[in-house]
Protein backbone atom coordinates (compact mmCIF):
# COMPACT_ATOMS: atom_id res chain seq x y z
CA UNK A 1 0.00 0.00 0.00
CA UNK A 2 2.68 2.47 0.98
CA UNK A 3 6.24 2.29 -0.23
CA UNK A 4 8.78 2.40 2.60
CA UNK A 5 10.66 5.68 2.64
CA UNK A 6 14.25 5.77 1.49
CA UNK A 7 15.45 6.04 5.04
CA UNK A 8 13.70 2.81 5.95
CA UNK A 9 15.30 0.96 3.12
CA UNK A 10 18.71 2.32 3.88
CA UNK A 11 18.79 1.62 7.58
CA UNK A 12 16.17 -1.11 7.90
CA UNK A 13 15.09 0.58 11.12
CA UNK A 14 11.85 2.19 12.08
CA UNK A 15 12.14 5.86 11.26
CA UNK A 16 9.83 8.79 11.67
CA UNK A 17 10.28 10.89 8.55
CA UNK A 18 8.12 13.74 9.78
CA UNK A 19 10.10 14.52 12.87
CA UNK A 20 11.22 17.83 11.41
CA UNK A 21 7.61 18.96 11.56
CA UNK A 22 8.57 22.51 12.35
CA UNK A 23 10.03 22.98 8.91
CA UNK A 24 6.96 21.61 7.11
CA UNK A 25 4.70 23.93 9.04
CA UNK A 26 6.74 27.07 8.47
CA UNK A 27 6.22 27.26 4.69
CA UNK A 28 2.40 27.31 4.69
CA UNK A 29 2.49 29.78 7.59
CA UNK A 30 4.48 32.25 5.51
CA UNK A 31 1.90 31.77 2.77
CA UNK A 32 -0.94 32.49 5.15
CA UNK A 33 0.72 35.65 6.45
CA UNK A 34 1.36 36.86 2.90
CA UNK A 35 -2.26 36.22 1.94
CA UNK A 36 -3.41 38.22 4.95
CA UNK A 37 -1.09 41.10 4.09
CA UNK A 38 -2.33 41.20 0.48
CA UNK A 39 -5.98 41.19 1.58
CA UNK A 40 -5.34 43.82 4.27
CA UNK A 41 -4.02 46.21 1.65
CA UNK A 42 -6.71 45.47 -0.94
CA UNK A 43 -9.80 45.43 1.27
CA UNK A 44 -10.58 47.87 4.06
CA UNK A 45 -12.92 45.30 5.61
CA UNK A 46 -10.42 42.45 5.88
CA UNK A 47 -8.12 43.34 8.78
CA UNK A 48 -10.72 43.76 11.52
CA UNK A 49 -11.38 41.77 14.66
CA UNK A 50 -14.90 41.09 13.51
CA UNK A 51 -13.76 39.64 10.22
CA UNK A 52 -11.10 37.52 11.92
CA UNK A 53 -13.81 36.04 14.15
CA UNK A 54 -16.00 35.48 11.08
CA UNK A 55 -13.20 33.52 9.44
CA UNK A 56 -12.83 31.36 12.56
CA UNK A 57 -16.60 30.70 12.43
CA UNK A 58 -16.39 29.85 8.78
CA UNK A 59 -13.53 27.35 9.05
CA UNK A 60 -14.75 25.54 12.18
CA UNK A 61 -16.53 22.68 10.39
CA UNK A 62 -13.74 22.23 7.82
CA UNK A 63 -11.18 22.45 10.63
CA UNK A 64 -12.77 19.73 12.78
CA UNK A 65 -13.00 17.45 9.74
CA UNK A 66 -9.38 18.19 8.83
CA UNK A 67 -8.09 17.03 12.24
CA UNK A 68 -9.41 13.51 11.64
CA UNK A 69 -8.30 13.59 8.02
CA UNK A 70 -4.76 14.54 9.09
CA UNK A 71 -4.51 11.45 11.27
CA UNK A 72 -5.87 9.23 8.47
CA UNK A 73 -3.53 10.71 5.86
CA UNK A 74 -0.52 10.34 8.19
CA UNK A 75 -1.21 6.58 8.30
CA UNK A 76 -1.11 6.57 4.49
CA UNK A 77 -4.88 6.28 4.11
CA UNK A 78 -7.62 8.56 2.84
CA UNK A 79 -11.21 9.11 4.01
CA UNK A 80 -13.63 10.16 1.29
CA UNK A 81 -16.66 9.65 3.53
CA UNK A 82 -16.26 12.59 5.95
CA UNK A 83 -18.87 14.81 4.23
CA UNK A 84 -21.47 12.05 4.01
CA UNK A 85 -20.80 10.85 7.55
CA UNK A 86 -21.20 14.46 8.72
CA UNK A 87 -24.63 14.58 7.04
CA UNK A 88 -25.68 11.17 8.39
CA UNK A 89 -24.62 12.11 11.95
CA UNK A 90 -26.41 15.45 11.90
CA UNK A 91 -29.54 13.79 10.50
CA UNK A 92 -29.32 11.11 13.19
CA UNK A 93 -29.20 13.80 15.87
CA UNK A 94 -32.20 15.65 14.45
CA UNK A 95 -34.14 12.46 13.77
CA UNK A 96 -33.65 11.05 17.28
CA UNK A 97 -34.63 14.29 18.98
CA UNK A 98 -37.53 15.05 16.62
CA UNK A 99 -39.08 11.61 16.09
CA UNK A 100 -38.41 9.97 19.43
CA UNK A 101 -38.14 12.92 21.78
CA UNK A 102 -34.60 11.95 22.77
CA UNK A 103 -33.08 14.84 24.77
CA UNK A 104 -30.82 16.84 22.46
CA UNK A 105 -27.75 16.35 24.69
CA UNK A 106 -28.04 12.58 24.27
CA UNK A 107 -28.86 12.94 20.58
CA UNK A 108 -25.62 14.92 20.18
CA UNK A 109 -23.71 12.08 21.78
CA UNK A 110 -25.46 9.65 19.43
CA UNK A 111 -24.38 11.78 16.46
CA UNK A 112 -20.74 11.40 17.48
CA UNK A 113 -21.20 7.67 18.07
CA UNK A 114 -22.88 7.33 14.66
CA UNK A 115 -19.86 8.94 13.06
CA UNK A 116 -17.49 6.71 15.01
CA UNK A 117 -19.44 3.61 13.96
CA UNK A 118 -19.26 4.60 10.28
CA UNK A 119 -15.53 5.20 10.63
CA UNK A 120 -15.04 1.86 12.36
CA UNK A 121 -16.84 0.09 9.51
CA UNK A 122 -14.53 1.80 6.99
CA UNK A 123 -11.55 0.76 9.12
CA UNK A 124 -12.72 -2.87 9.22
CA UNK A 125 -13.29 -2.90 5.46
CA UNK A 126 -9.69 -1.76 5.06
CA UNK A 127 -8.06 -4.07 7.58
CA UNK A 128 -10.23 -7.19 7.47
CA UNK A 129 -11.73 -7.16 3.96
CA UNK A 130 -8.45 -5.62 2.72
CA UNK A 131 -10.12 -3.01 0.53
CA UNK A 132 -7.94 -0.07 -0.47
CA UNK A 133 -8.88 2.94 1.75
CA UNK A 134 -10.01 4.87 -1.33
CA UNK A 135 -12.59 2.21 -2.22
CA UNK A 136 -13.67 1.41 1.34
CA UNK A 137 -14.39 5.04 2.19
CA UNK A 138 -15.91 5.68 -1.25
CA UNK A 139 -18.40 2.91 -0.43
CA UNK A 140 -19.01 4.43 3.00
CA UNK A 141 -19.50 7.84 1.38
CA UNK A 142 -22.35 6.50 -0.75
CA UNK A 143 -23.91 4.39 1.99
CA UNK A 144 -23.85 7.18 4.60
CA UNK A 145 -25.37 9.68 2.14
CA UNK A 146 -28.15 7.20 1.42
CA UNK A 147 -28.78 6.56 5.11
CA UNK A 148 -28.87 10.31 5.79
CA UNK A 149 -31.65 10.63 3.22
CA UNK A 150 -33.51 7.51 4.33
CA UNK A 151 -33.99 8.77 7.90
CA UNK A 152 -36.41 11.53 6.86
CA UNK A 153 -37.08 10.60 3.22
CA UNK A 154 -34.81 13.41 2.07
CA UNK A 155 -36.44 16.16 4.12
CA UNK A 156 -34.44 18.45 6.32
CA UNK A 157 -35.07 19.01 10.01
CA UNK A 158 -35.48 22.69 10.92
CA UNK A 159 -35.70 24.49 14.22
CA UNK A 160 -33.44 23.50 17.07
CA UNK A 161 -33.81 25.06 20.53
CA UNK A 162 -32.12 28.43 20.90
CA UNK A 163 -29.54 27.17 23.42
CA UNK A 164 -28.31 24.80 20.74
CA UNK A 165 -28.02 27.34 17.91
CA UNK A 166 -26.37 29.77 20.32
CA UNK A 167 -23.35 27.39 20.27
CA UNK A 168 -22.54 28.84 16.87
CA UNK A 169 -23.98 32.34 17.14
CA UNK A 170 -23.23 33.70 20.62
CA UNK A 171 -19.66 34.90 21.06
CA UNK A 172 -18.69 34.59 24.71
CA UNK A 173 -16.57 37.46 26.00
CA UNK A 174 -17.18 39.00 22.54
CA UNK A 175 -14.72 36.49 21.25
CA UNK A 176 -15.33 32.79 21.28
CA UNK A 177 -18.44 30.88 20.22
CA UNK A 178 -18.78 27.38 21.65
CA UNK A 179 -18.23 25.72 18.27
CA UNK A 180 -15.00 27.65 17.66
CA UNK A 181 -13.95 26.74 21.21
CA UNK A 182 -14.58 23.05 20.51
CA UNK A 183 -12.49 23.35 17.35
CA UNK A 184 -9.59 24.95 19.23
CA UNK A 185 -9.70 22.39 22.05
CA UNK A 186 -9.78 19.54 19.48
CA UNK A 187 -6.76 21.03 17.75
CA UNK A 188 -4.80 21.23 21.01
CA UNK A 189 -5.67 17.67 22.04
CA UNK A 190 -4.79 16.29 18.59
CA UNK A 191 -1.55 18.26 18.55
CA UNK A 192 -0.46 16.86 21.92
CA UNK A 193 -1.51 13.34 20.98
CA UNK A 194 0.25 13.26 17.62
CA UNK A 195 3.40 14.95 18.86
CA UNK A 196 3.96 13.61 22.34
CA UNK A 197 2.00 10.38 22.85
CA UNK A 198 3.37 7.02 21.71
CA UNK A 199 -0.03 6.26 20.12
CA UNK A 200 0.35 9.35 17.96
CA UNK A 201 3.91 8.51 16.99
CA UNK A 202 2.70 5.05 15.94
CA UNK A 203 0.53 6.67 13.25
CA UNK A 204 3.64 8.13 11.61
CA UNK A 205 5.33 4.74 11.82
CA UNK A 206 2.40 3.04 10.12
CA UNK A 207 2.34 5.68 7.40
CA UNK A 208 6.10 5.33 6.87
CA UNK A 209 5.90 1.59 6.50
CA UNK A 210 3.03 -0.59 7.76
CA UNK A 211 5.17 -3.72 7.55
CA UNK A 212 8.04 -2.29 9.58
CA UNK A 213 5.54 -0.90 12.06
CA UNK A 214 3.92 -4.33 12.44
CA UNK A 215 7.29 -6.04 12.91
CA UNK A 216 8.22 -3.53 15.58
CA UNK A 217 5.18 -4.53 17.59
CA UNK A 218 2.52 -1.98 16.67
CA UNK A 219 -0.98 -3.46 16.38
CA UNK A 220 -1.41 -1.97 12.90
CA UNK A 221 -4.94 -3.26 12.25
CA UNK A 222 -6.29 -2.14 15.60
CA UNK A 223 -4.70 1.29 15.28
CA UNK A 224 -6.01 1.68 11.71
CA UNK A 225 -9.59 0.90 12.72
CA UNK A 226 -9.18 3.32 15.62
CA UNK A 227 -7.95 6.12 13.36
CA UNK A 228 -10.89 5.79 10.98
CA UNK A 229 -13.33 5.57 13.91
CA UNK A 230 -11.84 8.76 15.36
CA UNK A 231 -12.07 10.48 11.98
CA UNK A 232 -15.73 9.41 11.82
CA UNK A 233 -16.39 10.66 15.36
CA UNK A 234 -14.90 14.04 14.44
CA UNK A 235 -17.15 14.10 11.35
CA UNK A 236 -20.07 13.61 13.74
CA UNK A 237 -18.80 16.46 15.89
CA UNK A 238 -18.47 18.66 12.80
CA UNK A 239 -22.03 17.69 11.91
CA UNK A 240 -23.25 19.01 15.28
CA UNK A 241 -21.33 22.27 14.75
CA UNK A 242 -22.83 22.64 11.27
CA UNK A 243 -26.36 21.93 12.55
CA UNK A 244 -25.91 24.69 15.13
CA UNK A 245 -24.62 27.07 12.45
CA UNK A 246 -27.47 26.34 10.03
CA UNK A 247 -30.14 25.82 12.71
CA UNK A 248 -31.14 22.72 10.77
CA UNK A 249 -30.05 19.24 9.70
CA UNK A 250 -29.88 18.65 5.97
CA UNK A 251 -29.26 15.29 4.29
CA UNK A 252 -27.49 17.15 1.48
CA UNK A 253 -25.05 18.84 3.88
CA UNK A 254 -21.31 18.36 3.47
CA UNK A 255 -21.38 17.50 -0.22
CA UNK A 256 -17.77 17.55 -1.55
CA UNK A 257 -16.39 18.53 1.89
CA UNK A 258 -14.04 15.53 1.69
CA UNK A 259 -12.23 17.29 -1.16
CA UNK A 260 -11.92 20.61 0.71
CA UNK A 261 -10.68 18.72 3.75
CA UNK A 262 -8.07 16.75 1.85
CA UNK A 263 -6.94 19.95 0.13
CA UNK A 264 -6.52 21.73 3.49
CA UNK A 265 -4.48 18.84 4.95
CA UNK A 266 -2.24 18.59 1.88
CA UNK A 267 -1.72 22.37 1.68
CA UNK A 268 -0.65 22.06 5.31
CA UNK A 269 2.26 19.90 4.23
CA UNK A 270 0.94 16.36 4.69
CA UNK A 271 1.87 13.77 2.09
CA UNK A 272 -0.78 11.55 0.53
CA UNK A 273 1.88 8.83 0.53
CA UNK A 274 1.66 8.74 4.32
CA UNK A 275 4.10 9.26 7.17
CA UNK A 276 4.21 13.04 6.90
CA UNK A 277 1.89 15.68 8.27
CA UNK A 278 1.16 17.78 11.31
CA UNK A 279 -1.80 19.34 13.07
CA UNK A 280 -0.11 22.75 13.03
CA UNK A 281 0.31 22.51 9.26
CA UNK A 282 -3.29 21.41 8.84
CA UNK A 283 -4.59 24.36 10.88
CA UNK A 284 -2.63 26.69 8.62
CA UNK A 285 -3.95 24.86 5.54
CA UNK A 286 -7.51 25.25 6.83
CA UNK A 287 -6.95 28.94 7.49
CA UNK A 288 -5.46 29.47 4.02
CA UNK A 289 -8.62 28.06 2.43
CA UNK A 290 -10.82 30.08 4.81
CA UNK A 291 -8.92 33.36 4.35
CA UNK A 292 -8.78 32.90 0.59
CA UNK A 293 -12.54 32.54 0.12
CA UNK A 294 -13.32 35.21 2.73
CA UNK A 295 -10.92 37.69 1.18
CA UNK A 296 -12.11 37.06 -2.37
CA UNK A 297 -15.71 37.59 -1.21
CA UNK A 298 -14.76 40.86 0.48
CA UNK A 299 -13.06 42.00 -2.71
CA UNK A 300 -16.25 41.20 -4.64
CA UNK A 301 -14.40 38.88 -7.01
CA UNK A 302 -16.81 37.10 -9.36
CA UNK A 303 -17.66 33.55 -8.22
CA UNK A 304 -16.34 32.07 -11.44
CA UNK A 305 -12.95 33.77 -11.01
CA UNK A 306 -12.89 32.65 -7.35
CA UNK A 307 -13.08 29.01 -8.44
CA UNK A 308 -10.10 29.52 -10.74
CA UNK A 309 -8.03 31.30 -8.06
CA UNK A 310 -8.75 28.70 -5.36
CA UNK A 311 -7.97 25.85 -7.76
CA UNK A 312 -4.69 27.46 -8.77
CA UNK A 313 -3.63 27.99 -5.16
CA UNK A 314 -4.30 24.33 -4.32
CA UNK A 315 -2.39 23.14 -7.39
CA UNK A 316 0.54 25.47 -6.62
CA UNK A 317 0.66 24.45 -2.98
CA UNK A 318 0.85 20.76 -3.75
CA UNK A 319 3.26 21.24 -6.65
CA UNK A 320 5.77 23.08 -4.52
CA UNK A 321 5.27 20.66 -1.68
CA UNK A 322 6.17 17.66 -3.85
CA UNK A 323 9.07 19.48 -5.53
CA UNK A 324 10.33 20.54 -2.12
CA UNK A 325 10.08 16.99 -0.81
CA UNK A 326 12.18 15.67 -3.67
CA UNK A 327 14.92 18.21 -2.98
CA UNK A 328 14.94 17.71 0.74
Amino acid sequence: MVAPSEQDQATGRLTIPSFNWGLGFFGPLVGLVLLCIVFSFTSEYFFTTRNALNILDQVTVLGILAIGMTAVIITGGIDLSVGSVLAFSMMMMGWLSREFGVPLEIAMLCAILTGAACGAVSGLLITVARLPPFIATLAMMTVARGLANILTDGRQIVGYPSWFTSFATVRHFDFLSVTVGVFIVSVILAFIYLRYRPGGRNLYAIGGSPEVARLSGIAVKKVTVGVYAMCGALSGLAGIALAARLNSSQPSAGLTYELDTIAAVVIGGASLAGGVGSIAGTVVGVLIIGVLSNGLNLLAVSPFIQMVVIGCVIALAVTFDTLGRRNR
Partner: protein
Protein backbone atom coordinates in the same frame (compact mmCIF):
# COMPACT_ATOMS: atom_id res chain seq x y z
CA UNK B 1 12.10 27.93 0.53
CA UNK B 2 9.86 26.57 -2.19
CA UNK B 3 6.90 27.38 0.00
CA UNK B 4 7.89 30.99 -0.06
CA UNK B 5 7.90 30.89 -3.84
CA UNK B 6 4.48 29.26 -3.77
CA UNK B 7 3.05 31.87 -1.52
CA UNK B 8 4.46 34.71 -3.57
CA UNK B 9 2.83 33.23 -6.64
CA UNK B 10 -0.49 32.78 -4.92
CA UNK B 11 -0.24 36.31 -3.59
CA UNK B 12 0.21 37.54 -7.15
CA UNK B 13 -2.80 35.50 -8.27
CA UNK B 14 -4.85 37.01 -5.49
CA UNK B 15 -3.64 40.51 -6.27
CA UNK B 16 -4.69 39.98 -9.90
CA UNK B 17 -8.10 38.89 -8.74
CA UNK B 18 -8.20 41.91 -6.47
CA UNK B 19 -7.67 44.22 -9.42
CA UNK B 20 -10.55 42.60 -11.26
CA UNK B 21 -12.65 43.13 -8.18
CA UNK B 22 -11.83 46.78 -7.71
CA UNK B 23 -12.43 47.49 -11.40
CA UNK B 24 -16.11 46.86 -10.74
CA UNK B 25 -16.09 48.98 -7.60
CA UNK B 26 -15.85 52.46 -9.10
CA UNK B 27 -19.61 52.99 -9.16
CA UNK B 28 -22.37 54.72 -7.32
CA UNK B 29 -22.62 54.57 -3.55
CA UNK B 30 -25.24 51.78 -3.37
CA UNK B 31 -23.92 48.23 -2.97
CA UNK B 32 -26.25 45.24 -3.11
CA UNK B 33 -25.23 41.68 -2.30
CA UNK B 34 -26.61 38.85 -4.41
CA UNK B 35 -26.27 35.40 -2.81
CA UNK B 36 -27.09 32.75 -5.42
CA UNK B 37 -27.86 29.13 -4.56
CA UNK B 38 -26.11 27.51 -7.50
CA UNK B 39 -24.85 29.17 -10.65
CA UNK B 40 -24.57 25.80 -12.42
CA UNK B 41 -28.37 25.84 -12.72
CA UNK B 42 -29.46 27.92 -15.71
CA UNK B 43 -32.53 29.20 -13.84
CA UNK B 44 -30.42 30.89 -11.13
CA UNK B 45 -27.83 32.04 -13.63
CA UNK B 46 -30.55 33.86 -15.59
CA UNK B 47 -31.72 35.66 -12.46
CA UNK B 48 -28.12 36.59 -11.66
CA UNK B 49 -27.55 38.00 -15.15
CA UNK B 50 -30.79 39.95 -14.97
CA UNK B 51 -29.93 41.49 -11.57
CA UNK B 52 -26.41 42.36 -12.74
CA UNK B 53 -27.66 43.91 -15.97
CA UNK B 54 -30.26 46.00 -14.15
CA UNK B 55 -27.64 47.03 -11.58
CA UNK B 56 -25.28 48.19 -14.31
CA UNK B 57 -28.00 50.30 -15.94
CA UNK B 58 -28.67 52.08 -12.66
CA UNK B 59 -25.05 52.39 -11.57
CA UNK B 60 -25.48 50.11 -8.57
CA UNK B 61 -22.70 47.78 -7.56
CA UNK B 62 -23.82 44.15 -7.37
CA UNK B 63 -21.60 41.72 -5.46
CA UNK B 64 -22.44 38.16 -6.48
CA UNK B 65 -21.51 35.08 -4.47
CA UNK B 66 -22.27 31.49 -5.46
CA UNK B 67 -22.90 28.81 -2.82
CA UNK B 68 -22.68 25.94 -5.35
CA UNK B 69 -25.72 24.37 -3.68
CA UNK B 70 -24.25 24.24 -0.16
CA UNK B 71 -26.15 25.95 2.65
CA UNK B 72 -23.12 26.25 4.94
CA UNK B 73 -21.05 27.94 2.24
CA UNK B 74 -23.90 30.35 1.74
CA UNK B 75 -24.02 31.33 5.41
CA UNK B 76 -20.30 32.14 5.28
CA UNK B 77 -20.68 34.13 2.07
CA UNK B 78 -23.52 36.21 3.47
CA UNK B 79 -21.44 36.85 6.58
CA UNK B 80 -18.74 38.22 4.26
CA UNK B 81 -21.28 40.36 2.38
CA UNK B 82 -22.45 41.84 5.68
CA UNK B 83 -18.84 42.58 6.63
CA UNK B 84 -18.56 44.25 3.22
CA UNK B 85 -21.34 46.63 4.40
CA UNK B 86 -23.86 45.97 1.65
CA UNK B 87 -27.02 48.10 1.69
CA UNK B 88 -29.40 45.26 0.87
CA UNK B 89 -29.26 41.51 0.32
CA UNK B 90 -30.92 39.55 -2.48
CA UNK B 91 -31.03 36.02 -1.13
CA UNK B 92 -31.68 32.91 -3.25
CA UNK B 93 -31.42 30.18 -0.58
CA UNK B 94 -29.36 27.03 -1.18
CA UNK B 95 -30.27 23.67 0.31
CA UNK B 96 -33.51 21.73 0.43
CA UNK B 97 -35.35 24.21 2.61
CA UNK B 98 -34.20 27.78 2.94
CA UNK B 99 -32.12 28.59 5.99
CA UNK B 100 -33.26 31.46 8.19
CA UNK B 101 -29.82 32.05 9.69
CA UNK B 102 -28.60 34.47 6.96
CA UNK B 103 -31.79 36.51 7.21
CA UNK B 104 -31.36 36.81 10.97
CA UNK B 105 -27.74 37.89 10.55
CA UNK B 106 -28.63 40.51 7.94
CA UNK B 107 -31.50 41.80 10.03
CA UNK B 108 -29.23 42.11 13.06
CA UNK B 109 -26.97 44.30 10.91
CA UNK B 110 -29.94 46.38 9.74
CA UNK B 111 -29.75 45.12 6.15
CA UNK B 112 -33.05 44.48 4.31
CA UNK B 113 -33.47 41.08 2.65
CA UNK B 114 -35.23 40.18 -0.61
CA UNK B 115 -35.78 36.39 -0.74
CA UNK B 116 -36.07 34.92 -4.23
CA UNK B 117 -37.40 31.48 -5.27
CA UNK B 118 -37.46 30.06 -1.72
CA UNK B 119 -38.35 31.78 1.54
CA UNK B 120 -37.13 30.66 4.97
CA UNK B 121 -40.30 29.54 6.79
CA UNK B 122 -39.06 30.53 10.26
CA UNK B 123 -37.53 33.91 9.38
CA UNK B 124 -39.01 35.13 6.08
CA UNK B 125 -37.32 37.87 4.04
CA UNK B 126 -38.71 41.42 3.99
CA UNK B 127 -40.24 40.50 0.67
CA UNK B 128 -40.42 37.24 -1.25
CA UNK B 129 -40.36 36.95 -5.03
CA UNK B 130 -41.11 33.65 -6.72
CA UNK B 131 -43.23 31.94 -9.31
CA UNK B 132 -46.61 30.77 -8.13
CA UNK B 133 -45.55 27.18 -8.77
CA UNK B 134 -48.75 25.54 -7.53
CA UNK B 135 -50.94 27.54 -9.91
CA UNK B 136 -48.46 27.08 -12.76
CA UNK B 137 -48.25 23.30 -12.30
CA UNK B 138 -52.03 23.14 -12.15
CA UNK B 139 -52.31 25.04 -15.44
CA UNK B 140 -49.84 22.61 -16.97
CA UNK B 141 -51.87 19.66 -15.65
CA UNK B 142 -55.06 21.08 -17.11
CA UNK B 143 -53.34 21.48 -20.48
CA UNK B 144 -52.11 17.87 -20.37
CA UNK B 145 -55.66 16.71 -19.59
CA UNK B 146 -57.04 18.69 -22.50
CA UNK B 147 -54.38 17.53 -24.99
CA UNK B 148 -54.78 13.85 -24.20
CA UNK B 149 -58.55 13.89 -24.14
CA UNK B 150 -58.48 13.05 -20.46
CA UNK B 151 -56.89 9.60 -20.57
CA UNK B 152 -53.33 8.51 -20.07
CA UNK B 153 -50.67 6.97 -17.87
CA UNK B 154 -48.19 9.45 -16.38
CA UNK B 155 -44.57 8.89 -15.42
CA UNK B 156 -43.30 11.70 -13.17
CA UNK B 157 -39.57 12.43 -13.03
CA UNK B 158 -39.35 14.32 -9.75
CA UNK B 159 -36.80 16.92 -8.72
CA UNK B 160 -34.90 16.83 -5.43
CA UNK B 161 -37.31 15.59 -2.79
CA UNK B 162 -38.22 17.97 -0.01
CA UNK B 163 -37.48 21.15 -1.97
CA UNK B 164 -40.19 23.78 -2.25
CA UNK B 165 -40.35 23.67 -6.08
CA UNK B 166 -40.76 19.89 -6.02
CA UNK B 167 -43.51 20.02 -3.38
CA UNK B 168 -45.40 22.88 -5.07
CA UNK B 169 -45.22 21.39 -8.56
CA UNK B 170 -46.49 18.11 -7.17
CA UNK B 171 -49.38 19.81 -5.36
CA UNK B 172 -50.46 21.80 -8.42
CA UNK B 173 -50.20 18.95 -10.88
CA UNK B 174 -52.14 16.57 -8.64
CA UNK B 175 -54.84 19.18 -8.14
CA UNK B 176 -55.29 19.32 -11.92
CA UNK B 177 -55.43 15.53 -12.21
CA UNK B 178 -58.10 15.37 -9.50
CA UNK B 179 -60.43 16.93 -12.07
CA UNK B 180 -59.23 14.55 -14.74
CA UNK B 181 -59.93 11.03 -13.49
CA UNK B 182 -58.88 9.30 -16.73
CA UNK B 183 -55.26 10.24 -16.16
CA UNK B 184 -53.35 8.19 -13.64
CA UNK B 185 -49.84 8.63 -12.23
CA UNK B 186 -48.35 5.16 -12.62
CA UNK B 187 -44.74 5.86 -11.72
CA UNK B 188 -42.74 8.55 -9.98
CA UNK B 189 -39.11 8.69 -8.97
CA UNK B 190 -36.88 11.42 -7.58
CA UNK B 191 -33.68 12.80 -9.06
CA UNK B 192 -30.99 14.30 -6.84
CA UNK B 193 -29.69 17.18 -8.91
CA UNK B 194 -32.49 18.02 -11.40
CA UNK B 195 -30.10 16.97 -14.19
CA UNK B 196 -30.77 15.73 -17.70
CA UNK B 197 -28.81 12.47 -17.44
CA UNK B 198 -30.79 11.57 -14.32
CA UNK B 199 -34.02 12.24 -16.21
CA UNK B 200 -32.89 9.96 -19.02
CA UNK B 201 -32.01 7.06 -16.70
CA UNK B 202 -35.15 7.39 -14.58
CA UNK B 203 -37.49 7.59 -17.58
CA UNK B 204 -35.77 4.68 -19.29
CA UNK B 205 -36.29 2.48 -16.23
CA UNK B 206 -39.92 3.56 -16.02
CA UNK B 207 -40.53 2.62 -19.66
CA UNK B 208 -38.92 -0.75 -19.08
CA UNK B 209 -41.32 -1.48 -16.22
CA UNK B 210 -44.35 0.04 -17.94
CA UNK B 211 -44.13 0.56 -21.74
CA UNK B 212 -47.73 1.82 -21.72
CA UNK B 213 -46.74 5.22 -20.29
CA UNK B 214 -48.21 7.94 -22.52
CA UNK B 215 -47.23 11.09 -20.59
CA UNK B 216 -43.99 12.20 -18.95
CA UNK B 217 -43.83 15.18 -16.59
CA UNK B 218 -40.27 16.26 -15.87
CA UNK B 219 -40.31 18.58 -12.86
CA UNK B 220 -37.67 20.69 -14.60
CA UNK B 221 -36.89 21.16 -18.29
CA UNK B 222 -33.61 19.26 -17.99
CA UNK B 223 -35.42 16.25 -16.49
CA UNK B 224 -38.07 16.42 -19.23
CA UNK B 225 -35.36 16.60 -21.91
CA UNK B 226 -33.84 13.43 -20.47
CA UNK B 227 -37.25 11.75 -20.51
CA UNK B 228 -37.82 12.80 -24.14
CA UNK B 229 -34.51 11.21 -25.06
CA UNK B 230 -35.49 7.99 -23.29
CA UNK B 231 -38.80 7.93 -25.20
CA UNK B 232 -36.96 8.34 -28.47
CA UNK B 233 -34.55 5.51 -27.69
CA UNK B 234 -37.36 3.19 -26.58
CA UNK B 235 -39.01 3.02 -30.06
CA UNK B 236 -42.52 2.82 -28.69
CA UNK B 237 -45.56 2.07 -30.83
CA UNK B 238 -47.48 5.05 -29.44
CA UNK B 239 -46.91 8.76 -28.98
CA UNK B 240 -45.75 10.07 -25.62
CA UNK B 241 -46.52 13.60 -24.45
CA UNK B 242 -43.50 15.10 -22.64
CA UNK B 243 -43.83 18.28 -20.59
CA UNK B 244 -41.31 20.16 -18.49
CA UNK B 245 -41.17 23.18 -16.20
CA UNK B 246 -38.96 26.34 -15.96
CA UNK B 247 -38.67 27.56 -19.55
CA UNK B 248 -34.88 27.77 -19.52
CA UNK B 249 -33.12 28.20 -22.86
CA UNK B 250 -32.55 24.53 -23.56
CA UNK B 251 -36.15 23.83 -22.64
CA UNK B 252 -37.55 26.58 -24.84
CA UNK B 253 -35.49 25.42 -27.79
CA UNK B 254 -36.77 21.90 -27.28
CA UNK B 255 -40.38 23.12 -27.16
CA UNK B 256 -39.84 25.17 -30.32
CA UNK B 257 -38.40 22.13 -32.11
CA UNK B 258 -41.11 19.79 -30.86
CA UNK B 259 -38.81 17.69 -28.62
CA UNK B 260 -40.89 18.75 -25.62
CA UNK B 261 -44.61 19.39 -25.97
CA UNK B 262 -44.92 22.13 -23.37
CA UNK B 263 -43.22 23.84 -20.46
CA UNK B 264 -44.11 26.58 -17.97
CA UNK B 265 -41.85 29.58 -18.55
CA UNK B 266 -40.86 31.36 -15.36
CA UNK B 267 -40.20 35.09 -15.55
CA UNK B 268 -36.56 34.93 -14.55
CA UNK B 269 -35.59 38.23 -16.16
CA UNK B 270 -38.58 39.94 -14.60
CA UNK B 271 -37.89 38.41 -11.20
CA UNK B 272 -34.27 39.60 -11.30
CA UNK B 273 -35.29 43.17 -12.11
CA UNK B 274 -38.08 43.06 -9.54
CA UNK B 275 -35.65 41.78 -6.89
CA UNK B 276 -33.36 44.76 -7.49
CA UNK B 277 -36.25 47.24 -7.50
CA UNK B 278 -37.59 45.79 -4.25
CA UNK B 279 -34.12 45.98 -2.69
CA UNK B 280 -33.84 49.68 -3.60
CA UNK B 281 -37.36 50.36 -2.30
CA UNK B 282 -36.51 48.65 0.99
CA UNK B 283 -33.30 50.67 1.33
CA UNK B 284 -35.38 53.84 0.86
CA UNK B 285 -37.74 52.69 3.58
CA UNK B 286 -40.70 52.21 1.24
CA UNK B 287 -43.36 49.56 1.84
CA UNK B 288 -42.94 46.38 -0.19
CA UNK B 289 -45.49 43.55 -0.08
CA UNK B 290 -44.39 40.49 1.90
CA UNK B 291 -45.04 38.21 -1.06
CA UNK B 292 -44.79 39.02 -4.77
CA UNK B 293 -45.77 35.81 -6.56
CA UNK B 294 -45.35 35.81 -10.31
CA UNK B 295 -47.35 33.82 -12.84
CA UNK B 296 -45.57 31.46 -15.24
CA UNK B 297 -46.60 31.24 -18.87
CA UNK B 298 -47.74 28.04 -20.55
CA UNK B 299 -45.33 27.63 -23.44
CA UNK B 300 -45.94 25.42 -26.50
CA UNK B 301 -44.45 25.40 -29.99
CA UNK B 302 -46.64 28.42 -30.76
CA UNK B 303 -45.01 30.91 -28.38
CA UNK B 304 -41.62 29.32 -27.55
CA UNK B 305 -39.70 31.12 -30.30
CA UNK B 306 -40.75 34.52 -29.00
CA UNK B 307 -39.54 33.73 -25.49
CA UNK B 308 -36.20 32.59 -26.87
CA UNK B 309 -35.64 35.99 -28.41
CA UNK B 310 -36.95 37.96 -25.50
CA UNK B 311 -37.11 36.02 -22.25
CA UNK B 312 -39.77 37.36 -19.90
Amino acid sequence: MNRVFLTTTSAIAVAGAALLGTAAQAQDDLTIGLAVANLQADFFNQIKQSVEAAGEEQGIEIITVDAAGDAATQVSQIQDLITREIDALIYIPAGATAAGVPVEAARAAGIPVVAVDRNPPDVPGDTFIATNSVAAAQELGDWVCEQTGGTGRVGVVQGQLGTTPEIDRDTGFRAALDDCPGIEIVAQQASNMWMQDEGFAIAQDMLLRDPEITIFFGRADALALGAAQAVQVANLDHDVLVVGFDGDFAGLEAVRDGVLDATMTQRTQGMGRMALESAIALINGEDVPAEQLQPATLTTSENAAGFLENHP
